[in-house]
Symmetry: C2
DNA sequence: AAAAAAATCTACTCTTCGGTAGATTGCTTA
DNA sequence: TAAGCAATCTACCGAAGAGTAGATTTTTTT
């Protein structure tokens, strides 16, 4: 029994848009495979031959979709940085006390650092990049760092955050929430969201004994 | 005018111990130069030719003192890990509440992570190492991690630390205090000790608003 | 003084890997 | 149907860098 619908769906004659989108999908698949390999070992220790092999293709095919090895990395970190940037902009446009907005941002920040592309941002050190890539990378990271400091400062101003040294606080929070990029494996009992929440709660409350709030 | 004392001091005829110690000094100089280069870029991106050049020697001379490139790295991380191990043992043998002992340990932990060899421990990921080196590396790191968790658990038990999830707390504290290995440069206004203290204080108190302790 | 050992160098080898040339296959378009 | 273009491959080039061979120089020992 013929199935015309099905044949029409997967006709071998693609339209121009379909071809463009297929190309885009392949490009994305290359980036996804590359970022996983970079995260599993390191950018330097990963060869494009290895990345190609995991996709069942050859190295020149990667060059058909991306200019060179550095560009592969730059595209990966750019994806991660754009996620972080979006989170930062969202946090800045929200309502609520400084602490509430910082909390939301930090949770999202931590989650992104457990994503393939987010992990890559953390694990990439800018000395790896060419002058041009380094400029861009630092610029975007700086923007995210400034957003975090602004949120902290606003919380201090409105009293929702203790009067901390903003610079030290930003390093401490970012450091704690960057670290999952090094150990989180995607297995384990807790989801990234649960880990993020637990860590942020701890950073807000501290590990010191809770002050006994006397019932009135 | 002859200076017999000075000639005796720096006689060209060394004793056996002097020769052994000179060899040891040269070996140490190689490790110090290597760890600085590894920290500035990365192990993979640093060639032994570069390391040799900073010492004004040639690559084969490095091989005269150390077996191969991996052994150079292993020696560097071992030095760092031994410092951490010493700090962990000290913390466990001290007196005081769990929180007090944890604080002292964390400050020392953070300081070591701003030292050349400590930074190298943090920046080295075990996938770089051979099976043998990896086993050793993981073993020592695990010991330090267990010590931190034990201190946290003891603090929870004696009430000096809030009833936190020990695993999450260990990841959060370690992550925050590992991060200086990535950004601390040795310049900057604050000393490693000051940075360590400020970060630990923040982690203990949290960034949340301090509960107003009502005067009685 | 001769022999042995230690320290160091120059000049290699061999492998890995980024990147390219150019052929092949097959779809698209005029 | 011919020309053009997209996707992919095999086979290579050249640079970098880990590690070694073996010579040379210096120091130590006998």
């Amino acid at each position: 029994m013929p199935e015309p619908q099905s044949i029409a769906d997967r006709s071998p004659f693609r339209s121009a848009e379909e071809r463009a989108s297929e190309r885009e999908q392949k490009r994305e698949a290359v980036l996804r495979a590359a970022v996983r390999a970079f995260n599993a070992k390191s950018f330097e220790a990963t060869s494009l031959d290895e990345v190609a092999a995991t996709l069942g293709i050859s190295k020149p095919t990667i060059y058909h979709y991306l200019g060179n090895k550095e560009q592969v990395l730059v595209e990966c970190v750019t994806r991660g940085l754009e996620m972080l940037q979006a989170a930062a902009r969202e946090a800045q446009s929200e309502s609520g006390s400084g602490l509430e907005r910082l909390r939301r941002f930090l949770r999202r920040y931590a989650e992104i650092n457990m994503d393939d592309f987010g992990r890559c941002v953390i694990r990439t050190n800018d000395e790896t990049l060419s002058a041009e890539g380094r400029r861009r990378f630092r610029g975007l990271k700086g923007e995210i760092d400034r957003a975090m400091r602004t949120l902290i400062a606003e919380g201090v101003d409105d009293g929702s955050i203790a009067p901390v040294d903003v610079r030290i606080a930003a390093f401490t929070l970012a450091g704690a929430l960057n670290w999952p990029a090094r150990w989180h494996q995607g297995d384990g009992a807790m989801s990234p969201g649960e880990i993020a929440s637990a860590m942020v709660d701890l950073l807000v409350s501290g590990i010191g004994p809770r002050v006994q709030t006397r019932p009135d």
